[in-house]
């Protein structure tokens, strides 16, 4: 019985909750070292969990010992462990980055970030629809708190709009859960899956619609994207990195989980619509990214565009699992690359004191490592080899061609070229001959290295994806 202590799964939730509360106890501004040590342990735990799942298939943790319909079950299958690995792998370098970034006024950053990461881990591991509602709320409030950090009016306004969109979306999700409980009398995904008959009652269609729409709003997919650029574009660099890389991925993961496990036949109907919205997101997001002069806003619009790729997966979902693999690799590649890009932009803004592109030219040779990180992250976003983004693009085109759907191929290719346009719009500045920028403020090296490590990780993943694919095969429906 005592081996439950060694089971990494529960600790992945208890640990972040604990250090978040401890960081709160230690008072404003402190908790950085505690967070970094704890995150290192969490990454280690996630790796152990991954090996367990690789060897013996999905791992279930029965909370309270009651079993699925009555109690709540935690499930770690290939998909959730892949997202867990992404979360810890992005959080650790960002923690090192944030320690240097918030040298003085960290305020409540560490406890908020702790709760955010706890919410992410809990969400990826949960297999209970109402429990997912609570984790979504925990996630949203933490994210809103982080966006509002520092209290600047623009930030508070963006945080308020983000909160209202998020709460409305959670409300719709909750109504969906209420309907499901009304129809089947349970909210445990494992118990629900077999009950989903071929002729679902109308209530189930509405439930799926409400839950899906709510989650799309939280993922900022095209028609619901308006809240993301001000929120992610204006927040502090480590916050925008955490939000763009991880938080929007959590609701995408839920859409995937619902589409695969809970409403398989319903989503098949709405999948082409999702694909079209994704394509629209890619085109609109890239176009807006090209037009803005502020680097952070550009990177935020790039998130809106790159999220579009994730939704191209749905019309191509097939038993061969190609599209699912493409979606997960894209989510991981974008997570790492976007975190690196926001970190790099944070360094550039600290160094030049300005947010615009023009300020970049004079300082390029002073922070070469950061520009190299931005370049590598750009390579991943463009989907050029040798990056993980390229593998995702390859798998997506392969999936599209195997279905003979040429439209999606054109969208993927077009999206890559548009991404190249706005990435090189920034990188060009680094090569421009410009007058020495007098206002150069030296930046701690640890920040540059954190950005570089994240970008390099997305490239290394591009060279070796075999284990990840084996992991995804575990427990894939």
């Amino acid at each position: 019985m005592t081996d439950a202590f060694l089971d990494p799964l529960p600790w992945l939730i208890v640990l972040p909750l604990a250090w978040a509360a401890m960081a709160f106890l230690m008072g404003a501004g402190r908790g950085a070292r505690l967070a970094i040590v704890a995150l290192a342990m969490q990454l280690f735990l996630a790796l152990i969990l991954a090996t367990q799942v690789l060897e013996s298939g999905p791992v279930t943790h029965v909370v309270g010992g009651w079993g699925a319909p009555l109690g709540i079950d935690l499930l770690a299958d290939g998909l959730s462990v892949a997202m867990l690995l992404l979360t810890q792998a992005v959080a650790l370098p960002l923690a090192v980055y944030a320690q240097a970034y918030f040298s003085r006024e960290a305020g409540q950053f560490w406890p908020l970030a702790g709760f955010l990461l706890a919410a992410l881990n809990a969400l990826f591991l949960s297999a209970d629809l109402f429990n997912l509602y609570v984790t979504l709320e925990l996630l949203s409030l933490a994210a809103v708190g982080l966006v509002a950090l520092g209290g600047k009016p623009a930030q508070v306004a963006a945080a308020l709009r983000y909160l209202l969109v998020s709460l409305t979306a959670s409300g719709a999700y909750l109504m969906g859960v209420a309907l499901i409980y009304g129809v089947y009398g349970t909210v445990s995904i494992a118990t629900l899956a077999p009950l989903m008959g071929s002729a679902p009652p109308m209530a189930l269609w509405l439930s799926a619609g409400l839950m899906l729409t709510g989650l799309l709003a939280k993922t900022a997919l095209f028609p619901f994207h308006f809240w993301l650029p001000p929120a992610h574009g204006g927040a502090a660099a480590p916050v925008s990195a955490l939000l763009s890389a991880l938080v929007v991925k959590a609701s995408f993961y839920l859409v995937l989980r619902l589409a695969l496990d809970v409403f398989p036949n319903l989503t098949a109907l709405v999948a082409p619509g999702l694909g079209l919205l994704g394509a629209a997101a890619i085109l609109y997001g890239s176009w807006r990214a090209l037009r803005t002069h502020h680097i952070k806003r550009l990177v935020a619009w790039s998130t809106v565009a790159q999220l579009g790729y994730l939704f191209l997966v749905f019309p191509l979902l097939a038993p061969d699992g190609l599209a699912l693999q493409a979606g997960v690799v894209q989510a991981i590649a974008h997570g790492l690359a976007k975190a690196a890009m926001f970190a790099a932009v944070g360094v550039l803004m600290l160094a030049t004191g300005r947010d615009t592109l023009e300020g970049l030219a004079g300082v390029a040779h002073r922070v070469p490592l950061t520009l190299f990180a931005f370049g590598l992250a750009g390579v991943t976003l463009m989907g050029l080899p040798p990056s993980a983004g390229f593998l995702a693009k390859w798998l997506l085109i392969d999936a599209a061609l195997s279905h003979g759907q040429w439209g999606w191929v054109a969208v993927v290719i077009g999206g890559g070229l548009l991404a190249a346009a706005y990435v090189f719009k920034v990188l060009r500045q680094a090569f421009l001959l410009a007058p020495e920028d007098s206002r150069f403020q030296p930046v701690p090296r640890s920040m540059e290295w954190a950005a570089f490590v994240l970008a390099a990780a997305s490239v290394v993943l591009g060279l070796r994806g075999v284990e990840l694919m084996a992991l995804l095969a575990q427990g894939a429906p």
Partner: protein, 92 residues
């Protein structure tokens, strides 16, 4: 028509009223009210639907309890942001 069903239907109307309110109203405070109505509507449907044939089901009731606490937390945060935003306009 058990009381569960009556309140479930009332909950649906509340939910839609709240949803419409959040979308259409422009004043931040009113949108917070609308969000709370939406939440209450969803809670009513959750319990009402489960108890539509009479009987008492403690599971949705526990969920609604959790939901109410989460709703008040969210409302408090929203109000804090609104006050900070409104107050800050006056400062700068």
């Amino acid at each position: 028509m058990t009381s569960g069903l009556v309140f479930a239907l009332a909950g649906v109307l509340l939910f839609v009223l709240g949803l419409g309110g959040v979308v259409m109203l422009s004043h931040a405070l009113r949108r917070i009210l609308a969000f709370n109505l939406m939440g209450s509507g969803a809670f009513l449907v959750l319990v009402g639907l489960a108890q539509r044939d009479g009987g008492v089901d403690p599971v949705p009731q526990a969920m609604v309890l959790t939901g109410i606490v989460v709703a008040v937390a969210a409302t408090a945060l929203a109000l804090a942001l609104v006050r900070r935003l409104h107050g800050a306009h006056r400062d700068d």
